[in-house]
């Protein structure tokens, strides 16, 4: 199963579950906002999306991961708008029978997300100015 949510405001993690008998791995990733970017001090990040296309690409990507890797579920939440330092901007939870496929799927999912899902960061600097983030991911 896939759940993809793009949300504004605080992010509530997907709940854990002690009742799964077939999945031996529950892998959770929380991407959080750091206080610096390329030597610049940040006050926060502000996330921007191409509304409609971002969710469509994220859903398509999640679906591809479920086909490519033998995982049971992939759940993803991505925040939009202002996200304070230390807060979670991206939350992903993957369930699978064994850990290996969950780890590979997680790595692939996040790598692809950073290549093709139309979401961007704006850096809110400590002097109050807002500029496109200089952050480019591997």
């Amino acid at each position: 199963m896939i759940i993809v949510k793009i949300i504004k405001g605080p992010l509530t993690p997907f709940p854990s579950n002690d009742d799964r008998n077939q999945d031996g791995a529950e892998l959770t990733f929380n991407g959080r906002v750091r206080d610096t970017e390329h030597g610049r001090d940040l006050d926060a990040l502000e996330y921007e999306q191409y509304e409609g296309m971002a969710k469509a690409e994220l859903t398509k990507l999640a679906s591809e991961m479920c086909q490519k890797f033998p995982i049971s579920d992939l759940f993803c939440k991505h925040r939009m708008g202002r996200v304070e330092i230390g807060e979670t901007s991206l939350h992903v939870s993957i369930w699978s029978k064994h850990r290996k496929e969950a780890i590979e799927a997680m790595d692939n999912f996040i790598k692809e997300l950073k290549i093709r899902v139309p979401i961007w960061k704006w850096a809110i600097l400590t002097d109050g100015t807002k500029v496109p983030s200089a952050c480019v991911h591997d």
Binding site: G31, Y47, E48, Y50, G52, M53, A54, A56, H78, S89, L90, I110, L113, K114, I115, R116, V117, P118, I119, W120, K121, W122, V131, P132, S133, C135, V136, H137
Partner: protein, 81 residues
Amino acid sequence: MIKIKIKCFSQVRYAMGKDEIIMDIEVGSTTSDLESFIIEKVEGKLDNISLRVAVNQKYVQGSIELKDGDEVAFIPPVQGG
């Protein structure tokens, strides 16, 4: 003439100073024509920034001819996560 909408995000929005542009263009105009227009308009502010093109919220490869009512986005490197 046909009417199209350009959506601007991140560096493109920063360079253009707006998040959306609605404009009339010649019949037969392509995404490449539109990209050249944008690049020229921002006078160097998008130099060294690779742009992908989406038409009606789908990535397209190469240059395609635009139709009346199309929504076009020149997508700078994405930064989700």
